[in-house]
Amino acid sequence: MASQDRSASLPLPLATPAGPADSAPVLDPKIMLASVEQDLSLLRELAELFFAECPGLLSQIRNGVRESNPEAVERNAHTLKGALSNFGALAACNAARELEIRGREARFDGAPELLSSLEREVNRACNALSMFLQEASREGSAR
């Protein structure tokens, strides 16, 4: 049942630090490729699903923070965290986790700042994922 390991031929450029405030990587290609068992076409499909789902989830979290609705913040941050975890988007996962905890504890002090941090990290993760897929396509077509 072991999957075929094609990772050696795929680009792995993205395990870069998110910045001084958070040392977690924007994306962890090893986690990402393990999630899809090295299948790039599945990774593309999942990325498209993620890009389609992400704005709605962020919007629900934003509304939840604005309206001080802990259930909405916890549930949507949790779902977003789960989706991000498939791509090894650890910095964004951490930001989503912080908001999920705030929602669970119904604490909204500092929540707008956490939301800004989440939006920034999700943007970075989306950009990095797009770049990774573009790079993988170029590698594939050059072969």
Partner: protein, 131 residues
């Protein structure tokens, strides 16, 4: 073997659906707890993969309803969760679950758990309790 996958995260559900169908399993997907329960009652699967936190009722609520249902009581449930609350996970285990996987799910370990369910399913008579 028939699998009901109850998971609201569309990325995770597609990933698992693709993996399981690739293993020759018949997979139905429900994106919330209520529709998962309805789908399970209508056509009981051989195993349920259950996210503990979904819209339309919690996974714990789903497990209690499964245990109260004559059609579903014997159906094994494998929990997949991103929750870190150990109390909730212990409560799920007390409701009787096959195994618990944290996200992102280790697919090889999931295969082992599914294989264990498959072996038991193959060994038992094909009859189910009447509704």
């Amino acid at each position: 073997m028939k699998v009901l996958l109850a998971e609201d995260d569309k990325v995770q559900s597609r990933l698992l659906e693709r993996h399981l169908t690739g293993r020759g399993l018949e997979v139905r997907v429900a994106f919330d707890a209520d529709s998962a329960l309805r789908a399970a009652e209508k056509d009981p699967p051989d195993v349920i993969l259950l996210d503990l936190q979904m819209p339309g009722g919690t996974g714990l609520g789903f497990l209690k309803k499964r245990n109260a249902s004559s059609r579903l009581r014997g159906v094994p449930v494998i929990v997949i969760t991103g929750m870190e609350d150990q109390l909730v996970i212990r409560m799920a285990e007390q409701q009787g679950v096959e195994s618990v996987f944290h996200k992102p799910v280790d697919l090889m370990l999931l295969d082992v758990s599914m294989e264990s369910v498959r072996a038991r399913t193959a060994a038992r008579p094909a009859t189910r309790p009447a509704p």
